[in-house]
């Protein structure tokens, strides 16, 4: 069993990814593998390069060097930045998903919740209104939004509901890999807990792999299997989440962990 698992191919292989903005460093020489069903947390303070890295990993920002290789469902390995833009964008709206910190960046605020969830289905060619609507209803339920809000616009939703709607919109095409940028940022603590619990359940039930960028260590403790700690554009520590948090080795990680105020 374990032998078979070891022979599995990683879903995402990241090698020496660097990104410079002119002479200024965004991130440097980041390498890791991500396996199906695995959640990787990336932590670090503002300016540590974690958002740059996330954008490089998710096909949005071409790295200055290195490669990001994704194992597709049927077509073998795909070098994300050597693929055509059309292929990359198709990946982004089908097999991948991106959850933004601010739901307004990930939602269409001027159309209904149902249309928001249905859009990715329509984008991959679904042309049956009834089916699209049924899928949207199902997904609202799974993110704990009442079915009677289907035709309401997200502007009428609370921040937590908007974030859950964004998650439904991303997951409706059954992606295998989801990128999340501070998914609980800007939410009340009680709302955060509910969202985290929901995310955790979805990740497990759907076997999703996820890369979650956050500065909130509680978020990664609950969600992530593994952790990358970033400082000044580089990964300073990498390992099992609870080990990095409970037995941090790098001075910066120790500082980060010890800076958390006890609840």
């Amino acid at each position: 069993m374990s032998a078979a698992q070891d022979n599995d191919l990683p879903l995402l292989t990241v090698r020496d990814v660097s990104r410079y903005y002119g002479a200024r460093l965004g991130c440097r020489d980041v390498s890791f593998d991500l396996w199906p069903g695995e959640v990787l947390g990336i932590v670090g303070e503002s300016g540590s390069g974690k958002s740059t890295l996330l954008n490089c990993l998710s096909g949005k920002l071409e790295p200055s060097g290195g490669e990001v290789v994704y194992q597709t469902r049927h077509e073998g390995a795909l070098d994300v930045y050597r693929a055509s833009e059309a292929r990359r964008r198709l990946l982004l709206r089908t097999d991948w998903g991106f959850v933004h910190q601010n739901p307004r960046d990930g939602l269409r605020m001027a159309v209904s919740a149902g249309a928001n969830v249905g859009e990715r289905l329509m984008a991959v060619g679904d042309r049956h209104y009834g089916n699209i609507r049924a899928a949207a209803t199902d997904w609202l339920g799974r993110v704990e939004i009442a079915a009677d809000r289907l035709d309401d616009r997200p502007t009428a939703f609370s921040g937590g509901m908007q974030q859950r709607l964004q998650i439904a919109r991303v997951l409706v095409t059954k992606p295998r890999l989801v990128f999340m940028d501070e998914p609980t940022g800007g939410l009340d603590v009680s709302v955060q807990a509910r969202l985290l619990d929901l995310l955790r359940g979805l990740v497990r039930d759907l076997g999703l792999a996820a890369i979650v960028v956050t500065h909130d260590l509680a978020v990664v403790r609950l969600l992530a299997h593994r952790l990358l700690v970033m400082k000044d554009g580089e990964v300073v520590e990498h390992g099992l989440t609870d080990r990095v948090l409970d037995d941090p080795q790098h001075p910066y990680t120790q500082l980060l962990v010890s800076s958390v105020l006890p609840a």
Partner: protein, 235 residues
Amino acid sequence: MTPPAFPSLQVDGLSKTFTLHTQNGARLPVLQGMRFSVSPGECLALSGPSGIGKSTVLRLLYGNYGAETGRMILRQDEREIDLAAASPREILRLRKHTIGYVSQFLRVIPRVPTLEIVADTLRNAGFAGDPLPPSKAMLTRLRIPERLWNLAPSTFSGGEQQRVNLARVFVHPFPVLLLDEPTASLDAANRQTVIELIQSAWARGAAVVGIFHDLEVRDAVATRLLDMDQFRAAA
């Protein structure tokens, strides 16, 4: 399970020092050159005064702490895994199927009901069938009232939380069990139940490593004692 010729767990040369970079790089040596082995069907009790590193050993074995030096060989199905060098992925897989750890404090996700916490252990271990009946049976055995099953344990009393913690580990027959004061804050009846659970665990062949401050419990469950004093690191 027949006793195999090889130990389930063999620890050799294990050392651990904490370096506190936030406190001018102060070094806190905890363990040095520790060695022991545990066979299937054995319950090894770590003994020694508090602060000597007993919990650290369990955390090292569980992968929660990283070993500084040494090897921790887990033999399973004719395969050897060095826990000190295992990849995070390997550790996670072992935690699902092989190594159960009862910590001193229950650390769970807010909002997840007690019954689900217990059933998740079985789901993660790939339990064939409905995980709820055995989960309910274990909660019943540990005297968690049924009215609490659908509540999250964050508001439970210390004793109740500890029993949930025990239930979610003992619900699955882990081949390796790490127990950190499993009977602290339990009443006599529950303490007796836990003693029975531990006894039946090693009786079925599990390798158990534990810390038992309660001497009555220790005498009841331990097959061997390991005095930690010999591995005390020179400060």
